[in-house]
């Protein structure tokens, strides 16, 4: 970006230094809490509560993670979340492509009308209670369907995918394919989907993150504990401080140690529950910018 490095004037040098300091301050303020949490999760429980941990793990131990391993609710939740996320995201991406492709075609008669129907839902909604009553009427309460169907599609992602299709699939390609006797179904499946890797990666990440992180729908639609997704289990533990002591391993020790272990359990849980996304994230990161850019273009 810089045009010349050498022969900088004094003010430019000053600017560079001030700028580097400024960025570093922001960098550290985002990074420090993350490092602290990870370090705390790998420390000894007493060290965490007594405030010995500042930056690196103190008296490293896996106590917190063992406690998480023994905490059955967490693993039921984890399993449920994986199921809801995979099934939900598959439905999401399918529905999005199904909606986005016709909307990207110039010769799709009624496109304006459909577009209006989609866009209007981003500006006006029936609200919480009518949605809840609908899900109840459909007998979806407390079923896996309530985690997948009501959020089957996000209009914003449809717009992103549509814009991408418009930009990257040339009309000539469609004409050529049609000459070869390719119908629209085949064209979507064999050509559009295969040419749209980057955008599918981005919307898959968006949907997967939304599904994985979702707690509110689960909270209002699910009653049975064994169906709770991870976030709902986390909510009880992290937010309501509602730890089932019976699920903590070890001797039914003194209250102080139990409290310390509870705290450590929380830090370990924060780390474990965030890992799945952080594993995927670096692979998709380079596409993120593309997704954001397309989202901001006018369609």
């Amino acid at each position: 970006m810089d045009i010349r490095f050498r022969n900088e004037s004094f003010t430019d040098k000053l600017f560079t230094i001030v700028n580097a300091i400024f960025i570093t301050v922001l960098f550290v303020s985002v990074l420090y809490p993350i490092i602290y949490i990870v370090s705390a999760s790998f420390s000894d429980s007493q060290a965490v509560v007594s405030g010995e941990v500042w930056l690196w793990p103190v008296r490293p131990s896996l106590e917190g993670y063992t406690a998480v391993l023994d905490y059955k609710m967490v693993w039921t939740g984890f399993k449920n979340s994986v199921i809801y996320t995979i099934a939900g995201t598959a439905v999401n991406v399918l529905m999005t492509v199904l909606a986005a492709y016709p909307l990207s075609r110039k010769d799709f008669y009624g496109k304006n009308g459909f577009m209006f129907l989609f866009m209007f839902t981003t500006m006006f909604t029936g609200g919480l209670i009518p949605n809840y009553l609908l899900v109840r009427e459909l007998h979806m309460l407390d079923t896996v369907w309530s985690m997948i169907i009501p959020t089957a599609l996000t209009v914003w992602n449809v717009i992103i995918a549509r814009t991408y299709f418009q930009m990257s699939i040339p009309d000539e390609l469609l004409e050529a394919a049609q000459l070869d006797g390719c119908n629209d179904f085949q064209f979507v499946w064999k050509i559009v989907v295969r040419l749209s890797g980057p955008i599918l990666a981005v919307i898959t990440l968006y949907y997967a993150a939304a599904n994985w992180n979702q707690y509110f729908n689960a909270m209002i639609y699910l009653k049975s504990q064994h169906m709770y997704p991870l976030q709902l289990v986390l909510k009880d533990i992290l937010v309501k401080n509602d730890v089932d002591v019976a699920m903590l391993s070890g001797d039914p020790m003194d209250a102080a140690r139990r409290e310390a272990l509870k705290t450590l359990l929380k830090y370990s849980l924060i780390v474990i529950s965030t890992v799945p996304l952080l594993v995927v994230y670096p692979f998709v990161q380079k596409y993120l910018v593309k997704g954001v850019m397309i989202g901001s273009l006018k369609g």
Partner: protein
């Protein structure tokens, strides 16, 4: 809304013949499922929102329940909670908008002048990441770090000789906790769009400025900042359209009996009246939600007009 129709204007003259429409029947088949979803899960609830004007009784159904006109709306507007809830919603929203506005821009400008590419990549990588952490975990982190006894923030304060603060137990702290944790989580991700806008600035402008002896600071001030301002203004305008849409899933989790005075917003109130109250009042809750939705819609339409009026391309 008119912005949505704009791109199609060009294709209007060659309106397809019925034959062409029929030939493209497969497109309608593709659209069938999403269309059904939209009608059932978006438009049916809108239709169901009419219970806001009724006294909805489950056994009687939507049609059987009696009309009561605007009773529920009047009850809400005259209720003791009304001013407080509306005030909290607006305060939280404006605070968030103002605090959240400068950081992505500053971060993008700063990153742009960073010499080391590796460092730049590292900063981007780390600052984008929190965006994907779940709300539950964010609130969990906030509560752990701000804990009056063992939280690191109070440890740091103690280190500097400041008496420990019970952050979650202070009514006045609530909005700041909500807003700054949001800035922490999203500033990095929100700067992506400005980085892209900066990359789109014509390098010739910078070259010319360097020839004229402009310092880096002046270049940033006179070239980069004006270059991304249109984008910033549009985003700001469009965000004001969502002024009543505070991230209520997060507020709900941050609430506790102590900070409720400052943390009760329209959406959390809707949730409580409709779904967790001893006697769930569907109609009243729907009316409050609808009250918000209607204001929101009006704001969004106004704001979209305004965004177009600024002569910069509207976002869609």
């Amino acid at each position: 809304m008119s912005s949505v129709r704009q791109p199609e204007r060009a294709s209007h003259p060659d309106r397809p013949s019925p034959k062409k429409i029929i030939r493209a029947w497969q497109l309608y088949v593709l659209m069938a499922l999403p269309f059904a979803y939209l009608i059932i899960f978006k438009y049916v609830p809108m239709y169901g929102a009419q219970i806001a004007f009724k006294n909805f009784i489950v056994t009687k159904g939507i049609w059987g329940s009696a009309w009561v006109g605007l009773d529920h709306f009047e009850r809400f507007i005259h209720s003791y909670d009304f001013t407080r809830i509306l005030g909290n919603t607006l305060l939280l929203s404006f605070y968030n908008l103002l605090a959240g506005f400068p950081f992505p821009i500053l971060l993008a400008l700063g990153l742009n002048y960073l010499r080391s590419r590796t460092y730049r990549k590292a900063v981007q990588m780390v600052t984008y990441a929190p965006h994907f952490i779940s709300i539950v975990v964010i609130v969990g982190i906030v509560k752990e770090l701000l804990d009056p006894r063992i939280g690191i923030v109070n440890k740091l304060l103690d280190f500097f000789g400041v008496a420990p603060i019970n952050f979650m137990g202070e009514i006045s702290m609530f909005s700041s906790i909500y807003v700054w944790s949001d800035v922490w989580q999203h500033a990095g991700f929100n700067c992506i769009i400005f980085i892209a806008a900066l990359a789109a600035i014509d390098p010739a402008l910078h070259e010319a400025a360097v020839v004229d002896g402009a310092s880096k600071f002046r270049r940033m001030w006179h070239i980069d900042l004006p270059g991304i301002m249109p984008m910033a203004v549009i985003l700001l305008i469009l965000n004001t359209g969502h002024i009543l849409d505070v991230g209520f899933e997060k507020v709900l989790l941050l609430q506790n009996p102590i900070n409720l005075k400052a943390s009760e917003i329209i959406d959390t109130y809707v949730y409580k009246v409709g779904l967790t109250a001893q006697v769930a009042n569907y109609s009243y809750s729907t009316a409050i939600g609808l009250f918000k939705s209607v204001i929101n819609l009006a704001l969004l339409l106004a704001v979209n007009k305004l965004a177009q009026r600024t002569k910069q391309a509207s976002l869609w």
